[in-house]
Amino acid sequence: MRVMGNFDLAEELVQEALLEAIQHWPKTGIPDRPGAWLFTTARRKAIDQARRDARYKEKLVLLEGAAMSLDAAEGDDRLRLIFTCCHPALSREAQLALTLRAVAGLTTVEIARAFITSEATIAQRIVRAKRKIVDAGIPYRIPQDADLAERLQEVLAVLYLMFNEGYLATGGEAATRRDLAEDAAWLAGLLVRLMPREPEALGLLALMRLHLARNDARFDAAGQLVLLQDQDRQKWDRDRIASATALLDRAAALGRPGPYQLQAAIAASHAEAPSWEETDWNEVIALYDALLAFTPSPVVRLNRAIARRHVSGPGVALAEVDATAPELDGYYLFHATRAELLRELGRAVEAHEALERALPLTQNPAERALLERRLEG
């Protein structure tokens, strides 16, 4: 088995997968493509195993490489499946569950854990989605020409949502949910393999890898969230960063910029800086300006204002942040950002008030803990 460097390990994993198949298939019936099922299951087990292994990163890369070697027919099939699972006629929840089940090979139990809901809920969601596909006549095909761009956007949105669900871990076991981010990145990698000349697919994969590269630095020993500006950059995964910037270069060569490429470029800007202070803030601001042309959202404007602080000072930045107030008054990060800037401007009382406004606006335990720490000292 060319996948794993360690032949014994590979053999053991295939054996385990076969065992599971023998137990599983009498109940569910033999899947249409037993080879693909076995591979997917073995892959998942290999990932679990690899996590426990000190040199897991190396193996993960090998795995990812091998999972990508599909023949043309299998590739087309996978693409058809991805586009069908992400059809806009299905709700977001259905798209997420179906894609994880049918394309990534997760069990309903694994999906339920990832979304902190019951297996019954996920099972029902998938059943209903499949029923709608049949009843409403959702076709099983790769969208053509005019539809392709729009449908690709839908797939990217599903994958990015999936990634964020796992990455931001709004509750429950942080470790389990980080698997979801890895699964999303795997799916994004598959999409890139199947559509290598789609720059936004490349951009999304790059963005995910750049986020994942910072994983080890995001939480401290006490399990507290560490912001980007405070992270130990020695803990960043330089291999992942290199792989991501290579993807971005490939995307750029295709000459069709887009929001995911730009978000990835911003993340890359941070990744390349030796420290927060040495970040090329002018480049970051320019990238946000370009991003605003695609997605003129107040959140993007907020992020741009944060970058502005480093070039034009907290006063200018605060004015820009305040300009987003009508839209972002219910967003915790708006108030948290204001608090930071006010503190820098020596307006301690207002800073404290802003933090208090921020706290009830987020349920994320790590974010709440961070705000509470700031309120105390």
Binding site: D135, G137, I138, P143, D147
Partner: protein, 121 residues
């Protein structure tokens, strides 16, 4: 597969339509006719409905029918017309719905086809 495309109108839209100069209204109808021409044989039925103030509703109050003025939906949008299309799959039906010229909402729902049922075909 057959789908019903339900075209909606809002009260404001209806008022705008009524207030339109004749020439503009003709132009709008021309675009609608173009849509039907392009759809061609894929359209197997349909009607424009008269506006909502012409509607009468029959409700059932503990099994007893009660007649009232107005459409059944007290909604901002009401059904202004429908078309039945016979196409290969949902994407084709959506393709037609997306080019509907009046800019209102279009609901696309598959019909249930039963052999020999009244009104079929």
């Amino acid at each position: 597969m057959k789908y019903m495309l339900m075209f909606t109108a809002t009260r404001d839209g209806q008022n705008q339509w009524d207030a339109m100069p004749e020439q503009q209204r003709s132009a709008e109808y021309a675009r609608i006719n173009e849509w039907f021409e392009r759809a061609g044989a894929r359209v197997v039925g349909g009607y424009e409905l008269q506006p909502e103030q012409t509607a009468t509703t029959v409700r059932f109050n503990s099994g007893k029918p009660v007649v009232t003025d107005g459409p059944f939906l007290e909604a901002k949008e009401t059904i202004a017309g429908y078309a039945i299309v016979d196409v290969g799959d949902l994407d084709e039906a959506l393709g037609l719905a997306k080019t509907w010229p009046t800019g209102g909402t279009v609901e696309v729902r598959p019909v249930i086809e039963r052999e020999g049922a009244p009104g079929q075909g």
